[in-house]
């Protein structure tokens, strides 16, 4: 058993034997390595001032993505290349094209958010040499700036794309060397601890089941976009922590005739191309999950396993008819997602089980849609979300699955609304009846995101919107110019 955490930080290989499970990458960068370019703005993954790139192998290829260092656990960087603002440079000691564009367009004022913006824009520049304004906005969903109003930053992103130079970029030039380094990391269990705060990185999913059997009740961490806050905000003791984000088996995406079976640690970003190709109706919904950094870290399995009533994927996957595979040393079982959520904070998962895979059916000929309403369009937590899968035959509704988030202590289906549709004509009056029924399907709470009245009103109106869109009578708000 190896017990050394290894990763690259810019040009330096870091080997640690005393990393605690709850150590964050940001604290390590700033407090242990005195790299002060990466800033802490919120310590909850919402402002992006701490954005760094993390490069890791995915299907044998090195992939760099911006993530929030504040809620990334240090131990989960095993085998990764962490790139901070200090590593960014242009040729011959000049500024990098992204940095130069930011300077030329007056993209910084107070400058505190700027390194984070530069890193997000660097991640975009690297992967999308010709981004549209909307793609730039999507890449910046996880970065807050309070000074500039963003206009000069978007202009800088466009200018950086024009400047080009990707082939000669430092990370491109060292790609082979880093890839080789990462491939040489053995697939062996790694354990590390300090003062009893333990981190366990299983060797593979069998070892994960074993680790869970050895440590029932351990905290399973994939992307840490939620668990990170348990530490930074609630100061909870999460030890022992079992990290699973590095396991290749849990990253598999397989398609069969029914749909997709995906490993539990497939991130929102990794799955986005599948959404774009096979579920284009919900791409907009998908891109409203967190900010880019969160989508690069957060996992679909985690979004489900964590059981939040306001996660984005459960309503969608319940409506589609999805299910999860749970695994333990005792074996595996499959649970329909609509039955997985029992009550607030309680799911149908034993302490020795982990979510191994998620099954997502294809819609076939059915009509699907997913909507989210929140105070701010992007990178906000759901006030109310609705997802639809409606089957019709000859003008009659033969199947209706409508699931809501934010309306109850768990994400769940709207039985009254579904009943109002089944067997009815696929017509405005049916959906109006369903909209009215939906308002009494739920008794939502009032909180800072929305009042109960507003949520109830939305439940009906999102059903009305579904019909209007099916009827081609309306369009949604758009950021495209």
């Amino acid at each position: 058993m190896a017990s050394e955490l290894r990763f690259l930080l810019n040009d330096t290989e870091i080997c640690l034997t005393d990393a605690a499970g709850s150590d964050t990458l940001l604290d390590f960068i700033r407090l242990k390595r005195q790299l002060y370019g990466t800033k802490e703005g919120c310590a909850e993954g919402d402002c992006g001032a701490c954005t760094v790139l993390v490069g890791r192998l995915l299907d044998g290829r090195l992939r760099y993505e911006p993530i929030n260092a504040c809620i990334r656990f240090l131990a989960s960087c095993h085998g990764c290349h962490v790139v901070t603002i200090e590593h960014l440079r242009g040729q011959d000691g000049r500024l990098h094209p992204v940095q130069q564009a930011m300077v030329d367009h007056h993209g910084s004022q107070c400058g505190f958010c700027t390194p984070g913006f530069v890193m997000s824009l660097y991640g975009l520049w690297m992967t999308n040499p010709d981004p549209s304004v909307v793609e730039i906005e999507n890449a910046l969903q996880g970065n807050l700036c309070r000074c500039t109003g963003y206009e000069p930053i978007v202009k800088a992103a466009l200018a950086a794309a024009k400047a080009g130079g990707q082939a000669m970029d430092a990370l491109a030039l060292e790609r082979d060397r880093v890839t080789e380094w990462a491939r040489a990391i053995p697939a062996a269990r790694v354990e590390s601890q300090r003062d009893g705060d333990r981190a366990i990185l299983p060797a593979d999913s069998a070892d994960l089941a074993a680790a869970l059997a050895e440590n029932p009740g351990a905290t399973i961490v994939a992307g840490a976009t939620d668990v990170g806050l348990w530490v930074t905000k609630m100061m909870r003791n999460i030890s022992p922590t079992i990290f699973i984000g590095h396991l290749p088996e849990l990253k598999q995406v397989r398609q069969d005739e029914d749909g997709f079976t995906i490993g539990a640690t497939v991130t929102y970003s990794e799955f986005e191309p599948v959404i774009a190709q096979h579920y284009p109706q919900v791409l907009d919904y998908w891109q409203r999950i967190g900010g880019w950094q969160v989508r690069n870290a957060g996992t679909i399995g985690g979004n489900i396993a964590n059981g939040s009533p306001i996660g984005e994927t459960p309503p969608l996957l319940i409506a589609l008819g999805g299910s999860v595979t749970l695994r333990s040393t005792q074996g595996i079982r499959r649970v329909a997602l609509q039955d997985f959520f029992i009550e607030y904070g309680k799911q149908d998962r034993r302490k020795d089980e982990f979510v191994e895979a998620v099954h997502i059916p294809l819609p076939g000929q059915d009509r699907i849609a997913a909507y989210k309403v929140s105070k701010r369009m992007h990178s906000d937590i759901t006030a109310t979300a609705a997802a639809f899968r409606i089957a019709t035959k000859g003008g009659t509704i033969t199947g209706a699955r409508i699931a809501f988030g934010g309306m109850d202590a768990i994400p769940r289906r709207a039985q009254g609304a579904e009943a109002a549709l089944l067997g009815q004509p696929f017509a405005a009056a049916s959906f109006e009846a369903a909209a009215i029924a939906a308002e009494s399907d739920f008794r939502p709470l009032s909180d800072w995101r929305a009042s109960a009245d507003y949520r109830r009103k939305l439940a009906g109106n999102l059903i009305r919107r579904f019909w209007l869109e099916q009827a081609g009578e309306t369009h949604r708000l758009s950021r495209a110019v």
């Binding site: 370019g37 007056h106 910084s108 505190f112 105070k375 701010r376 507003y454 009578e473």
Partner: protein
């Protein structure tokens, strides 16, 4: 100086922010990036868990016993005064001495070996309270008889009661306007380093180093000369670091002196947002009289503000709300009252605009009321009521520099307002689910601190004998580019390249008795003070050159190449010569704003040196099923006089617009019934993102405008005025909502117009 155009970085040129390269490479140092001294300790505040109550028992034994804890500090441990009230009312303790007055008020501080240990220890406190009744909003506070935190103000001109009585049309209603968190990206932070005797050095993120100096001195029970306060730059301020840093600086300083070790206090974002003040929420009751042509005849307004538990800056903030309750419009008969209500919430404070925006939005509500009542385009009502030069404001200052008619004319054309309004009306007439709205609104903003004595500044310019120049002034850099602009002034005044000038941290050691960098005044005041210093240097150097070479002073020109009669000599060589001749190469400059005076008792005077103007036209689309919206386009023309740096000024205008739009749309402060602020982090408090800015955003400076007053290079202040351009978005949302009733009813949106409020307003107007 004839060399103007050749000088690198001369005024009116769009040079980049002096720290731009440091920003993009991560090398710009903020307070938390300074290297820590060996043995540096970290503090964390313990916050009250009730909104109003007496502490009956405080058990901090578990806190003291927690790993790494060095000291736990309560009110009794403060050696000097337990007070950080910035106005002498002594109503704001550093640590609550037994009575807590808002949920989240600091009660104790724990100092530990690491920040993490301090935070974990703070959570172990056990404090018992005898809870007392609390009032959270200003109307509840009024009804509960909470009283004022500071003396209210009345502005009166003419006879409002009579004017209202005589008006053919009258409308009375209420408007609620939410507050706003600053959400500076760099949170509050202070690091105190103890030194010999009574001395302490503080590195702190602040807009007001002098105030930190005085507060720390009071808290330590020592004199101001024992305290040095330094700030190189802030990661944003927006008014939130004008007084709110005092708490952190005082706790760090007391602990550092007590323990003999450096102490840093950087609260977590949640504690920062919970324990520091914000923009004041207002409830405005108004009574409005107007004629059938839409001319305003009389206005009566009561402005109730949520001030929080202490006065802080609420007096001048609520005063400024009244000063701007006319926005750009003449009110023949007017009577305005401020009600700075005491509430059991955090003490509200300065925020860009300083109460002005809350006044301006009321004036724009009056315009809407009239327009919808008369079935007119609100723009016509705006134009009909614009000040004409010579008219008096409600505080009896004569308007002399009105330029809005030209700004309106240019904006109507460049934004194609009339055709687009027609298109919006046509679109809405189709009854689509998506509705549109458009509005063009002005801003007129008074420039000067209304506390006249704050309108002074100092600067210190050294020329070293190698020809390099060191520039220091009393202003602070928070991203606005103040240091760059002042350096531009110095470059021109000395005729040298800006590359020669080293911009240095603001410190109370170099320029004493400074005012806050606030009220948009930074460049006006410090630019003039630096110019004064440079003029002294130029005068001295010119006299020296003339005497040395026996030429009349008119034939001497100081610059990169110094011209003395027919002789030319490089700046370095000339400075070296002057040094050897024992010419003083350092000068302290000073400036005080002329002409201004203000008598608060009579409500009369000239509180403002001049006004800055601007206008914005915004168009929005609204999803009428959810209340969500996008800003389709915004066009802005804004007046900064003769801009010192058009690129930096444009950046201020764009940023202010988006911040102003955020205040009125997605940024909502939400307290629960226990008085807990539940929107205390970016996960719950939503400032605009890149995808919230206008899809098309055309911002222009009124490049023809020249300040008629003799300000620095005839420029105008820019920090705050464009914040109010965001009101055009709010008015456009109202316009879209009003379409549900064919524009017959004033939509009366309350702010912030979250999607929920927009949908609620739509439901109200839907048949």
């Amino acid at each position: 100086m004839k060399q103007d155009s050749q000088i690198k970085g001369a005024p009116h040129s769009s040079i980049r922010h002096d720290s731009a390269e440091k920003h993009v490479t991560g090398r710009a140092e903020y307070t938390d990036d300074l290297l820590e001294l060996v043995g540096t300790l970290h503090a964390c505040l313990g916050l009250s868990q009730v909104a109003h109550g007496r502490i009956t028992a405080m058990d901090l034994s578990a806190v003291r016993a927690a790993p790494g804890v060095v000291w736990v500090m309560t009110a009794e441990d403060i050696p000097g005064e337990n007070d950080i009230s910035p106005n002498g009312l002594h109503d704001e303790p550093i640590l609550a001495p037994g009575l807590v007055q808002f949920h989240g008020q600091p009660v104790f501080a724990v100092v530990a070996e690491t920040r993490d240990k301090a935070r974990r220890a703070a959570a172990l406190a056990r404090i018992d309270y005898e809870e007392l009744p609390h009032a959270l909003d200003p109307i509840a506070a009024r009804d509960a008889g909470m009283g004022y935190v500071t003396a209210p103000l009345t502005l009166r001109r003419g006879d409002a009661a009579q004017g209202l009585e005589k008006s053919p049309n009258r409308i009375g209603a209420r408007m609620t306007v939410g507050g706003q968190d600053h959400f500076y990206l760099e949170g509050q932070i202070a690091m105190a380093i103890p030194a010999e005797d009574e001395d302490v050095v503080i590195h702190v993120s602040t807009q007001h180093p002098t105030e930190v100096q005085h507060m720390v001195a009071h808290a330590l029970g020592t004199a101001a000369n024992a305290v040095v306060v330094n700030v190189r730059r802030m990661g944003g301020g927006f008014g939130g670091k004008e007084t709110q840093m005092n708490l952190f600086a005082c706790v760090a300083a007391i602990a550092a002196k007590k323990l003999g070790r450096a102490v840093k206090l950087r609260p977590d974002r949640d504690d920062d947002m919970t324990a520091t003040g914000k923009r004041h929420d207002f409830v405005i009751d108004y009574d409005l009289g107007f004629d059938d042509n839409g001319k305003i005849l009389a206005v009566r307004g009561d402005f109730y503000a949520r001030c929080g538990f202490s006065s802080d800056l609420s007096g001048p903030v609520t005063d400024r709300a009244l000063f701007h309750a006319d926005n750009a419009y003449f009110y023949p008969d007017v009577e305005l009252h401020s009600h700075p209500m005491k509430t059991n919430t955090v003490s509200n404070t300065a925020f860009r605009g300083f109460g002005g925006p809350q006044g301006v939005i009321a004036a724009e509500r009056f315009v809407e009321e009239i327009a919808y009542a008369l079935g007119r385009d609100p723009l016509e009502i705006r134009k009909a009521n614009l000040y004409e030069n010579g008219q008096l404001t409600p505080y009896h200052q004569e308007v002399e520099d009105q330029i809005l008619p030209r700004i309106f004319a240019e904006l109507e054309e460049s934004a194609d307002y009339h055709a687009r309004r027609r298109a919006v009306l046509d679109w809405n007439a189709r009854g689509s689910t998506i509705r549109k709205g458009i509005a063009l609104t002005p801003v007129k903003f008074g420039i000067s601190f209304t506390a006249t004595w704050f309108n002074q500044a100092g600067a210190l310019v050294h020329i070293y004998n190698d020809g390099s120049i060191h520039l220091n002034h009393g202003g602070t850099e928070m991203g606005q580019g103040l240091n760059t602009k002042v350096a531009q002034v110095v470059a021109e005044a000395l005729g040298v390249s800006i590359d020669r000038i080293k911009i240095t941290k603001t410190t109370t050691e170099k320029v004493p008795n400074t005012s806050a960098t606030a009220a948009s005044s930074g460049t006006d005041l410090n630019g003039m003070a630096a110019l004064d210093a440079c003029q002294q240097l130029v005068q001295r150097l010119t006299a020296f050159a003339a005497q040395e070479k026996g030429v009349p002073p008119e034939l001497v020109e100081i610059g990169e190449t110094v011209q003395i009669g027919d002789e030319r000599i490089s700046f370095q060589d000339f400075v070296r010569t002057a040094y050897l001749a024992r010419i003083q190469l350092s000068a302290a400059g000073f400036y005080k704003t002329p002409k201004i005076h203000w008598n608060r008792e009579t409500g009369r005077g000239r509180p403002f040196y001049y006004y800055a103007y601007g206008a914005a036209c915004s168009e929005v689309s609204v999803d009428t099923l959810t209340g969500e919206y996008v800003i389709e386009r915004a066009d802005v023309i804004h007046d900064v006089g003769r801009s010192l740096n058009p690129a930096l000024d444009k950046g201020q205008v764009e940023g202010a617009f988006v911040q102003g739009a955020g205040w009125l749309t997605s940024e909502e402060l939400w307290w629960d019934d226990k008085g807990r602020l539940r929107t205390h982090a970016p996960s719950t408090y939503k400032i605009p993102l890149a995808s919230d800015r206008p899809k098309i955003f055309n911002v222009r400076l009124a490049d023809w405008s020249i300040n008629r007053e003799a300000t620095i290079k005839r420029s105008k202040a820019v920090g705050e005025p464009p914040f109010m351009l965001g009101i055009s978005v709010f008015e456009a949302l109202g316009h879209a909502v009003a379409s549900f009733d064919d524009y017959r009813t004033c939509p009366r949106l309350d702010a912030p117009a979250t999607p929920e409020r927009v949908l609620t307003a739509i439901e109200r107007l839907r048949r």
